[in-house]
Every structure is written in C-alpha cells, then in structure tokens.
Symmetry: C2
Subunit: 156 residues, 2 copies
Amino acid sequence: MISSAILDQRMEHFRARCAELGLAYTHQRMIIYRALASSDSHPTPEGIFEQVRREIPSISLGTVYKNIHTFTEAGLLREVNLLHDSLRLDANLGNHHHFVCVRCKAVTDIPEKDVAPLRLKHPLPDGFVLHRAAAELLGVCASCAASEPDLQTGSS
Amino acid sequence: MISSAILDQRMEHFRARCAELGLAYTHQRMIIYRALASSDSHPTPEGIFEQVRREIPSISLGTVYKNIHTFTEAGLLREVNLLHDSLRLDANLGNHHHFVCVRCKAVTDIPEKDVAPLRLKHPLPDGFVLHRAAAELLGVCASCAASEPDLQTGSS
DNA sequence: TGACAAAGGAGAATGATTCTCCTGTAATAG
DNA sequence: CTATTACAGGAGAATCATTCTCCTTTGTCA
C-alpha cells in the first residue's frame, strides 16, 4: 500500500494529465487509475479488474485493458515487463546485461564489463535471498533509431 | 551469431548435462538446443520452431515447448523475461529497481538509493539510444523463502 | 434539440502456451 | 540382439490472456 499523500499526488497528476490530453475524466477511469496508483504490488490487468469490480460491478474487463493502454501511452503508467508478450530464451549462462528496444522489443546482450558492478548499498528486505542481478537498459536500438525522426534521449 | 568454439562448448555442456540428469539425448533435443545455443538474439519458441523445422520438418511445436521447459529446469537455458506470463503495471513513475521472486513471481520495489548507480563503462553499440536503466534483482522473496528448505544463495 | 465523437459493455476472435492422448523410440537388462 | 519399459515425440484440442468488433450510452457542442 501507498501513503495517502502519494496517492493524492498521483491522482492529481492523473487528473491534470487527462485534462491536458483531452481524455474524458470518467468514473471508470478514475477508479481504475486509483486502483493502480494505490498499489505497489504491480498488479495484473485481471487483478485491477477484480478490485475495480468491487466498486463498479458492471465494469468490463475490456474497459480495464483499454484504459491500461490509454494510461500507458499517456505516460501515466509503465509496464514492468516490456517483453511480456512472448517467452524469450537465453542460452548464454554467463552474467551479462540486456538492452531492450522499446519499439521493436529486440534484446541485445551487453557484456557484464560494460556496466559498473551492480552493488547493493542497503540490504534487501528481511528474508529475501538474492540469486543474481542484471541491468535492464531500455531505449531504442540502432535500426529503429535509424528509421525514426524523433529520438528522445532520456525523459519520455 | 555465436562463434563455433562457444557453440561447441555449449553443445558439450548440453550433452554432459543430459547424461547427468538421465535425459535422453534425442535428435530433436540436440537440434533444438543447437538452435538456441547458436543464437544470441533471444529467440521465441516460435522462432526456434521455425528454425528447427528446416532440419526436422515433422517436429511439433509442442515438442519445442516441452523441451524449452526441460532445458530451463535443467539450467541449460534461462528465460529472459521471467514475467512473460501476464502484464504487470507500475504507477510509480520515479526511478527504482525491481526484485522478482523466481518462485512466486512477486515484484518488490527496491528504492533507487539502495543500489549503486548504474553507469555505462563502455558506450552502447553504435546508434543505440538509452532512455533509462534499472536493476533487475532475481531471487526468492521472504514469504517463499520461509516456506522452503533449500535456499541457494547465488549459483543455481 | 440534434448529431458527432469518445467511452463503456458484452462477447467473439486471436495468439501463445499447455494439456491430453496415443504412438514411437532410447535406454537397459538379459 | 531383442524385449521391456519408461521417457519422448506428434497431433490437435483446450485454456488463458489479450485484442477486437459491434453496438449502446453519454458527454459536448453547434
């Protein structure tokens, strides 16, 4: 759960961004976004649907999906797992990092040496056991960048 | 593509591990693993299927999936995207890292400050544009660890 | 008020993955 | 070398998440 101060701030940002983009501030959207914004457990669409259903029993799963996409495009939400659409395999069992192209979803290996060592400066929460760690670098790959005029360097 | 020295080494490891686990060293398995081991582009099961089909036209997609699982359990393969089964959302738009439990797939936020800054020591390949970077920490969460006798600390 | 566009609801369609069931074959002992 | 048995593979049905289609409702604005 999230503190109510942070929740309020997120809801305010949501409202402002909807106005900015001309998105109708509907009851469904507000409830869906609040369900997302008040959670720090990275829910699935199905999970959001179950939660929203308690307040709006007639809500449809399609509406939840549609709004998740709308919010993601609006920058109000991020996908934790950019590659969730299909399984990707890796036969390289050594340590290395991955660069994922946000446009074409291609994964490029980055040698371990090319990134400063990942080091925990504070211990993990109690009871957590770390197996391994790697950097996930997000951006645009060379071939997508070549075929696109607008390259953001960091913000979006 | 992968150098033939590395490919040979991977195939040898594959053969040894099959023997070790009592897995039948079938033609299909050999071709499937070779397709995986000779690629560094992180193929999908479908992609492997297409490639293997060229050598064994009668191969079934189910066989490819079954062996991918077998190989993964044997530690001969890794999933690039542990969370590929379903979309996960994040309304926390600030920088932070993720700890993913390999057992229950729960995602726990790790504050940005708790990990040494991610820094590229060598530039990305030509033309690549970085948007953002985060650490992906893999391991076992507290509740899974509590309900399990065998906790590996790093290798497996 | 009338009409258009955005949104929502319901359920069908799609695509990836898993499952079932039956046949074939690798491993192994004799 | 062959028989046995359990593991593997093939085919296609079933399942599950996600997307799409189509129609209705609602909000907005001339």
